[in-house]
């Protein structure tokens, strides 16, 4: 990572070389960015049409999410915040099933163990500790798996974030900390979140920190891969601050016009991760218009399938949803309460 230039990017040739990227992989990075952006847009539509209770766009953060996920081995674990929908898709999770949560059908939606992708974590920064604990377990198991812990810039203010960083340093856990610094925590801008620099905090925990251009998918890929390999070698954690920008609202419940200017948004537009990367791929001849068109069509299809599945999603039986995943080994008393509840539903269930 020594080759990072002051803007936090790697020259593409270096990134490709360091990360051993071939053309198929280069196109894959592009493909996933296009697909998840399309799904994101569709989810926002679904929310506006009343099919979802809430939606949290990740528009503008596709490079960070795709680059980081593809840089890992498939059995490395990811502990996401609530915004890593795109990462979940890259992990092969059915996007409709992921949306069930935002439709109010479930708190989960997939089996974390099959996808090595933990449940979305809503209490900010709380997942960092789970990631560190899981990574410590990988170490105890002498496993080659590593863990990616995801969080935003706002999360770095929480006590749990700090405690997780410190534990990871002390126990030299195989974990990569990925901060998607999108400059906002709802309405609070980065400069009111901290007077320091996020990446620089790593030194205080005894491991390296690096600030990178989070809108440059090649850099994200190469740097996360290097950090993951470092962790895999037993050399401990790395903190990566991927600088990006939240191009949308915090969530569908938010109104950013109350707190941010169009200017800032406009300033970030030219740094759109897909536009930038597409231009480069085309220029380098890794992509042509036909392939790009096919990818867009694929993205449309994915979005369409997601929509259809979502709007037709059956409502699971209430007793199951409410009672069947509270305890792994429920007591007699609890079962009795379940039965009592089920009895009150009899006609409808």
């Amino acid at each position: 990572m020594a080759q990072l230039n002051p803007e936090g990017t790697l020259p593409p040739a270096v990134a490709i070389e360091e990360a051993g990227l071939d053309r198929a992989r280069l196109v894959d990075l592009y493909r996933w960015m296009v697909v998840i952006r399309r799904a994101d847009a569709e989810a926002l539509n679904l929310q506006r049409q009343g099919e979802l209770g809430l939606w949290g766009q990740f528009l503008g953060q596709e490079a960070a999410q795709v680059g980081a996920t593809l840089a890992l081995h498939p059995d490395d674990w990811i502990f996401p915040s609530y915004r890593e929908f795109g990462m979940g898709m890259c992990r092969g999770i059915d996007p409709a099933a992921m949306l069930y949560l935002f439709r109010g059908l479930t708190h989960g939606g997939w089996d974390p163990a099959s996808h090595h992708f933990a449940p979305l974590a809503i209490p900010v920064a709380s997942q960092v500790l789970h990631a560190v604990g899981y990574a410590l377990g990988c170490k105890f198991d002498h496993s080659s798996q590593v863990v990616l812990a995801c969080f935003g810039d706002g999360a770095t203010s929480e006590g749990d974030w700090h405690e997780g960083m410190n534990f990871a340093g002390v126990f030299k856990c195989p974990v990569v900390f990925l901060c998607q610094n999108n400059h906002w925590a709802i309405s609070v801008p980065l400069e009111k979140q901290t007077a320091g620099r996020i990446a620089e905090r790593a030194a205080g925990y005894g491991f390296p920190g690096v600030r990178i251009d989070g809108n440059d998918v090649l850099t994200v890929y190469a740097v996360v891969r290097a950090a993951a390999e470092r962790a895999r070698r037993g050399d401990g954690p790395t903190l990566i601050e991927a600088v990006t920008y939240r191009m949308g609202a915090h969530s569908s419940a938010d109104d950013p016009t109350r707190y941010r200017s169009d200017d800032q948004l406009a300033a970030w537009s030219p740094r759109d991760p897909i536009v930038r990367y597409e231009a480069w791929l085309l220029a380098e001849g890794h992509l042509d218009d036909a392939r790009a068109g096919a990818i867009r069509a694929e993205a449309d299809a994915v979005a369409q399938t997601m929509r259809t599945k979502l709007v037709n999603a059956p409502v699971p039986p209430p007793s199951e949803v409410l009672f069947d995943r509270v305890y792994t080994s429920p007591s007699r008393t609890f079962q009795a309460e379940r039965d009592e509840f089920a009895a009150t539903l009899e006609p409808s269930e």
């Binding site: 809503i122 203010s157 309405s187 979140q193 938010d254 109350r258 509270v326």
Partner: protein, 323 residues
Amino acid sequence: MSTVTLAKALNAGLRDALAANPRVLLFGEDVGRLGGVFRVTDGLQKEFGEERVFDTPLAESAIIGTAIGLALRGFRPVPEIQFDGFVYPAFNQIVSHAAKYHNRSGMALPLTIRIPYGGNIGAVEHHSESPEAYFTHTPGLKVVTPATPADAYGLLRSAIDDEDPVIFFEPKARYWQKDELELPVPHVPIGQARIAHEGESVTVIAYGPTVETALQAAKAGEAEGLSLEVIDLRSLVPLDTETLLASLHKTHRAVVVHEAPVFGGFGAEIAARLSHDAFDFLEAPVERVAGLNIPYPPSRFEKLYLPDVDRILEAADRVVAYA
């Protein structure tokens, strides 16, 4: 007289408190520029400036911990916790310090912690919790929750004027509920329950978001010839046992209603207390209508989890029919 929502009444209460005392400070996540995710603090930063109403970094323990420090300095902090489910990171500061600092030091700790709480808003996990029982069991705290715009204003002013730490739970599902109201509302003391609806047969005890549900049940009950007396607690600590017992002397029957899980909920204290104090004149066991003993469910199922008119009426029927 004008029509005011509960959220607007809170906003007015905060504005008047800020205007009345230069030591009052409002802060928390997104309360400044944005005006709060529910707009309860809308316009206040503009009006009172960034040193009176300000955004903090994203850290609940720090929000409460620094509020304690500010209170020791002689300010009257009114920190906001954005949602019920996000108060837990601040639990140590509330339980080990806010509740005990006066006890330990003799210094007053005027501090009003605002927490929007409760379900019924179709939200994702952690946004529909009713954690009041954790605080009512913590000596040193006062715990209040309004059910109407008038009480929202009045209780909030009383809380901010109080010399002790007050947990102020706002029933977020009722933020948009309206009332004809003249502001400012006269003094609403902490510790005094309100008879929200007079009745003869059953005392229904509710607070915060379930008061409205209980009133709907009372209305529905009237049609069936069932006369419910609805008591709005307003203050959980201190608890106005007198008003409850006076009502029980009349009705001899009680139903307690809240959203939190029934097991170990605040209803347990009320039921235990009434069963004890009214042992001689209770004609039926005290019934509790509350959340199920499970984590708050996904929103499509929340209606099945929460107390509703039917469950209240069924419980009322049970206590009336009891023999």
